[in-house]
C-alpha cells in the first residue's frame, strides 16, 4: 500500500513580503508598458497589425535595395544617405498614428489618475512614454539601415574594402537616425498631449506635415507667372526672395530629409530642404533643437 503524497495549499490572502523597488521600478514599468503598447504586445491581434505594417514598410526599401545590390553591384544604387529620404513619409506616418496610442487613452480612460497616486510624477510618466516610443522609433529607423549595410557589404566584390571605403556611413546613419527619431517622437507625442482622442492627434500631426510642407513649398517656390516666360530652372525667383531659405525651415515633413542631408553632407532636391541648405548648418539644427525643447 502506497502512501499518498498529498499537499495542502493555503489559498487565503497572503500579505506581500517581497521587495519593493519604489520609483525606479515604476519608471521602468511605464517604459516597458509603453514599448508593449507601441508594438501591440499583450493586446488584441488588431493592435499588432499597424506596427507590423510600418516595420515591413520601412524595412522593405532596405531589403529591396540589398537584394538589387547583390544582383547588380556595378550599378550606382541609392545608399545609406538616400534611405531616410525614401522612408521619411512612413516614419512620419508611424509617429503620427502610433504615438497618440501612448498618451491619449490613458487620459481618456482615466488610467493616468491611477499612475499619479503611485510613486510616479508627471515627468516620470512622460519621460517613460517618450523613451519607449523613441526606442521603438530608433529600432525602426536603424533596422532598415543595418539590413542595407549588410546587403551592400555582402554584395560588394570585396566586403572588407567596401567597409573600409564607406565606414563613415555607419556613424552617419546612426547619427541621422537618432536625430530623425528624436524629432518625430517628440513632435508627435507633444501634439498627442493636447487631446484625449487618438484620431484627432493623428489627424493633427498628419495635417501639420501636409500644411507646413505646402506652405513652405509656396513660400520657397517659384512664381508661376514669372515674367510670363515660364519658370525655367535657374530663371525663376522664389516668391519670398532672399527669405526663401528661412521659410524652408517651417517644412516639418522636410526636416527628416534635411537632417539626413546634413549628416551625410549631401544636397537634396532643390525644394524644401535644398533651399535650407543655403543656410549655415548651425541655423536649421538650432531651430529644430529649439522646437524640440519647446
Amino acid at each position: 500500500m502506497t502512501e499518498s503524497a498529498g499537499e495542502l495549499f493555503d489559498l487565503g490572502y497572503k500579505r506581500y513580503e517581497g521587495p519593493r523597488e519604489g520609483r525606479m521600478r515604476a519608471r521602468k514599468a511605464v517604459f516597458t508598458n509603453g514599448v508593449r503598447t507601441t508594438l501591440g504586445l499583450g493586446r488584441s491581434s488588431s493592435a499588432k497589425v499597424l506596427p507590423i505594417i510600418f516595420f515591413v514598410a520601412v524595412m522593405a526599401p532596405a531589403v529591396v535595395l540589398a537584394l538589387v545590390a547583390s544582383q547588380a553591384s556595378a550599378l550606382d544604387l541609392p545608399g545609406h544617405s538616400d534611405y531616410y529620404q525614401s522612408v521619411s513619409i512612413m516614419l512620419l506616418l508611424f509617429s503620427a498614428i502610433i504615438a497618440p496610442e501612448l498618451l491619449c487613452p490613458d487620459r481618456r480612460t482615466g488610467v493616468i489618475g491611477l499612475y499619479l497616486v503611485r510613486p510616479l510624477t508627471v515627468t516620470d510618466y512622460l519621460a517613460g512614454r517618450w523613451l519607449a516610443f523613441f526606442s521603438i522609433t530608433l529600432l525602426l529607423v536603424y533596422s532598415g539601415q543595418v539590413i542595407l549595410l549588410f546587403g551592400l557589404t555582402l554584395s560588394a566584390e570585396s566586403p572588407g574594402e567596401y567597409l573600409q571605403d564607406n565606414w563613415l556611413d555607419i556613424p552617419r546613419f546612426f547619427g541621422a537616425g537618432f536625430l530623425i527619431a528624436l524629432f518625430t517622437t517628440t513632435l508627435s507625442l507633444a501634439i498627442s498631449a493636447f487631446t484625449t482622442r487618438k484620431a484627432y492627434a493623428a489627424a493633427f500631426v498628419i495635417g501639420i506635415f501636409i500644411i507646413s510642407s505646402a506652405v513652405a513649398g509656396i513660400l520657397t517656390g517659384c512664381e508661376e507667372h514669372n515674367d510670363g516666360a515660364g519658370g525655367g530652372v535657374g530663371q525663376c525667383e522664389p516668391l519670398t526672395g532672399d527669405f526663401a531659405k528661412w521659410f524652408g525651415l517651417i517644412d516639418v515633413r522636410g526636416v527628416t530629409i534635411h537632417m539626413s542631408d546634413l549628416i551625410f553632407d549631401v544636397k537634396s532636391t532643390p525644394e524644401g530642404s535644398g533651399r535650407i541648405a543655403v543656410l549655415h548648418n548651425i541655423i536649421p539644427i538650432s531651430t529644430y533643437e529649439a522646437c524640440l525643447a519647446g
Binding site: 489559498l11 487565503g12 490572502y13 497572503k14 500579505r15 506581500y16 517581497g18 521587495p19 519593493r20 523597488e21 519604489g22 520609483r23 521600478r25 515604476a26 521602468k28 514599468a29 511605464v30 516597458t32 508598458n33 499583450g42 493586446r43 488584441s44 493592435a47 487613452p105 490613458d106 480612460t109 482615466g110 488610467v111 489618475g113 491611477l114 499612475y115 503611485r118 510613486p119 510616479l120
Partner: protein
Amino acid sequence: MPEGDCLPTGITASEFLTHMAQVSGLPPAHAKTRAADILRHVGLDEERYRSIGEYSSGMKQRVKLAQALAHDPVIVLLDEPTVGLDPGGREEMLELIRRTGREFGISIIVSTHLMGDVESTCERIIVLDEGRVKEAGDVSMYTKETQNIFIDVDDKRSELVTALLSRGIEATVEGSSIAVVLENEVQSDGIRDAIVEVDAQLRRMGPRRQQLADIFRDDQK
C-alpha cells in the same frame, strides 16, 4: 479606487494588474504572481485573460478594487465603490469590501453618500459637512435602538393616531408607519388598548433602530 472610469479597455485584467503592481514598485515576477492572487480573491480568476473592455460594471468595479490591492497596501481609499451597480452586484461588492477589511487585514476608508453601504460595511464613520467634521464615532453609536416604537397597520391608520393621542401618547405618521415616542412602560398598555379600540389590523410593531441617514434628517429639521 476612484469613483469614475479608470480602466484601459484593450488589455486583459491580468496584464493590467501586473503592470499596476510594477508601477507600485513590485518586481516583475512578484507582480505577476500577486496579480493572479488578487484577481482570484476578487472573484475574477476565470476571467483574468479576457479584455477589460468586455467586462460588466460589477467586474470592472472588482478590477478597480484589485488594482488598489495589487501591492498589498496598509490602507485603501474607496470612492463610491458601489456606484452604477445593480442590487446583486452591490451586495457582492460590499461583501468583498468586508472581506478585504476582515480577512486581508487592510484598513479601508470608504467615501460614499449611500448610508446603507456604510451601515453594512463600516465600523466607524466621519460625517463631513462642507469640509468640516460634523459627526464622528462608531457606526453602532448611530444605529442603536431608540425609544421610538414603530407601528405598521394595514388599515385605520388615522383613527389609531387619534386614539393614541387621546391617551396622551405622542404619535405621528412617518411614511407608512406610525411613530410613537414611548415615555414609560405604562404607555405600552395604552398602545395595545388603542389598537383594540379602533380594531386595526396590526402587521408589525417594534422598537426602531436609528439610521445613519437620521444625521442628515436631523440637520434638515
